[in-house]
């Protein structure tokens, strides 16, 4: 691998040594063009995250001359550690873009190779592909595109005597159902709550940003979040869900809340399908009937293609990759974002970026995945908007909004006052300093 800017690399290594936990540097095998190639790829938690191995094995089956080796990072500090490696010139040949928040840093920092040719070959059927395009150039391709669903416990709905969701639920219908569930579960003597809303800002802000026409993170106007926060606070005050303070101080896990039937509904990302299945198998979750529906909508007009949110998970090529490995790396990208990679991922319960009929069949063939029509509809039909629209200011704005979220949900600051402050801070601290 070429080491560009050696002087800068030295400074970087020195500075990051203070705060970053650098992982061991892996060496690359230079490959002769045409001969066997070994690509290095970033990954995390290999023992509990089977997607990386699955993609590498599936690709190697089709391309026996190319092997993919992993460079494992800590899942929590993934971007920090990868950044340190890339800055020091020892990053892997291809690396995963865990979410869109840090894509701008890698792209503007010239760490990503132009993969527009791969993108053109993929066509329009890959969800989230456009998020990686800057000034007409594509810098990465998505291989999975998670989106948020409404998970529901069919048994608890039956216990409470409430009609389960359908594909066209609006927020108003959802609110009524939550109220009915609260009353019904109480009447039936069940200790379960109607809903569980996890402590992340995404649970409120992601859907508000995706579903509100004209909502823009970069605008500095966050009034669009108000109805979503009022709803969440009202449900909290009505005892329909565990309050934010309890969830944070008790470090509640959303998996346990839904998996042990303490909540009848839960808004969560599509990754939870595979988790719940695995936990039901291992006994960490109880055995019960469940399914997932589209997230409730702002109005009934989006019933044919419900709007939800989620960042794609992408794969990019290190700009400093050995030239002899570029062709193999691009082939790998084309595979993981295409139907081949998508089918491989779907067969282990992961939501790929490409959703074709064979992919859907592979997904619903996984034992334990709910096979009802509503779950199938939620999986195959949705309009997923980015949670972190690509912009130089996204990370800083999301920080402000994260603080705003805790201020509102803890009841420390009234909704309008907190959103007003967030806008003022965004304009003075971030947008005004452009």
């Amino acid at each position: 691998m070429r080491h560009r800017h050696p002087g800068r690399t030295a400074i970087t290594a020195a500075v990051t040594a203070l705060a970053l936990t650098a992982t061991a540097c892996g060496g690359d095998e230079a490959a002769d063009s045409g001969g066997p190639v070994t690509l290095t790829m970033s990954a995390w938690s290999l023992n509990s995250t089977p997607e990386f191995t699955k993609l590498a094995e599936a690709f190697h089956e089709r391309n026996p001359d190319v092997e993919v080796e992993f460079k494992e990072y800590d899942a929590t500090n993934y971007d920090t550690q990868l950044t340190a490696d890339l800055a020091a010139g020892s990053g892997p040949d291809v690396f995963v873009l865990k979410n869109l928040k840090n894509f701008f840093t890698y792209q503007s920092g010239e760490q990503l190779l132009d993969v527009s040719d791969v993108a053109h070959g993929l066509g329009d059927g890959v969800n989230g592909l456009g998020d990686y395009e800057v000034d007409g150039v594509t810098y990465a391709v998505p291989y999975r595109q998670d989106s948020w669903y409404l998970y529901y416990n069919k048994d608890l709905f039956a216990t409470a005597g409430v009609t389960p969701p359908d594909a066209t639920w609006t927020w108003a219908q959802y609110e009524r159902a939550v109220a009915d569930l609260t009353a019904g579960l109480k009447a039936a003597g069940s200790p379960a709550k109607a809903a569980y809303q996890h402590v992340w800002q995404s649970t409120v802000q992601g859907l508000a940003l995706a579903q509100t026409p004209g909502a823009d993170l970069d605008s500095g106007d966050y009034g669009y979040l108000a109805p979503y926060y009022r709803r969440a606070l009202a449900q909290q005050e009505a005892g329909a869900q565990v309050d934010y303070g309890t969830a944070t101080t008790n470090t509640l896990q959303y998996q346990a809340q839904f998996g042990t039937q303490q909540a009848a509904t839960m808004l969560m990302g599509s990754w939870y399908v595979a988790t719940l299945i695995a936990q039901q198998k291992s006994g960490d979750a109880q055995s019960f009937q469940w399914g997932f529906a589209p997230a409730p909508q702002r109005d009934g007009g989006t019933g044919d293609k419900p709007v939800t949110f989620g960042d794609p998970t992408g794969l990019g090529i290190n700009a400093a990759i050995d030239e002899g490995e570029v062709a193999a790396a691009k082939e790998f990208l084309a595979f993981v974002a295409g139907e081949g990679g998508a089918t491989a991922l779907a067969s282990i319960g992961i939501t790929p970026a490409t959703l074709t009929e064979p992919v859907a069949q592979a997904y619903f063939a996984v034992q334990g995945v709910p096979a009802d029509e509503l779950s199938r509809f939620a999986f195959t039909t949705h309009d997923t908007r980015a949670e972190n629209p690509v912009s130089p200011e996204t990370a800083a704005l999301q920080n402000i909004l994260q603080e705003t979220h805790s201020a509102i949900m803890s009841g420390s600051t009234p909704v309008d006052e907190a959103l007003g402050r967030a806008g003022a801070r965004a304009r003075s601290e971030v947008l005004g300093s452009r």
Binding site: R8, I11, T12, A14, V15, T16, A17, L18, A19, L20, T80, T83, L86, A87, N102, T105, Y106, S108, G109, E110, Q111, Y244, G245, T246, T248, T249, N250, T251, A395, A396, N399, E403, T404, S406, A407, M409, S410, G411, S412, T413, A418, R425, S428, E429, S433
Partner: protein
Amino acid sequence: MSTTTVGGPRETGPRGTGSHRTGTHRTGPRRAGSRGAGGDRGKRWHRSLQGVSFVLPNFLGFGLLTLGPVVALFYLSFTNWNVFGTARWVGLDNFTRLARDASFHRALLNTLYYSALHIPLTLALSLALALLLDRGLRGAAFFRTAAFFPYVTSIVAIAIAWNLLFSKDAGPVNQVLGLFGVDDPPGWTASSDWAMPAVILVGVWREMGYYMLLFLAGLQTVPPELHEAARIDGAGAWQRFRNVTLPCLRPTTFFVTVMLTIGSFKVFDLILVMTNGGPGQSTLVLSQYIYQKGLVENRFGYASAVSVVLFGLCMAVTAVQFAVNRRRED
């Protein structure tokens, strides 16, 4: 080398005062001296090498991992840098922006708030604990260990355990408060008013055992005769504590105060795990602000500027403490 060693004492010895011997030494020591100087230098050089070889590994580590990054930090605070691109020199821009940055002001105030309560509380409680356990109570060793235990326990475990204790409805803290008739107990870490006091309480609880040990060591240096003399003079317990123990403990108190001050200004991990700076910005401190700007937002130039301010703050407060201490000693 041996010539000098032998010749030296001869010259200054009781018998080496006559002119003859002096005359003998005029040539002898000169020759011997020329060899001796070289020998001296060689010996000194050898000893220096030995000394350097002992400190070199540590110094290399310090230079590479501490001094270098600190120097780089000062440079970077005058740049705009996102790790990958070239660090662009922006002069004092980062510092002028800091002066207008409301979040930085909040972080600074919160840091001062934390320090203003954490330092005196820890100082007082650790000293009180040390005085109590220095009296040879039965089971003192057990209590010393128990008090020190939180300091060696994982800070993440401590933070999670205390969060559970502080839980609004089911937490034992509020249940105990309920026993005392507190009808509307605070939400502690979920309350913007009570989150910082809660964090300070845990910080004090965690660290007082460590400083207690330092005070216990300091108490061993207090001469018992002074106490005895004071007692004979009719001094009561409080007078002996104020006029004998405290003055004798001054070096320890000074050290503890300096360490506590620096530690309080740099508090990070406890807050990160307990409240993550929230609710809102109610427990956001400077160290966390540096982390946010640097590692989350990739604004390393700006984060470096905040680090420089924190560095300056620590240096200034420590310098004042040194000056006050010196004046008291004089």
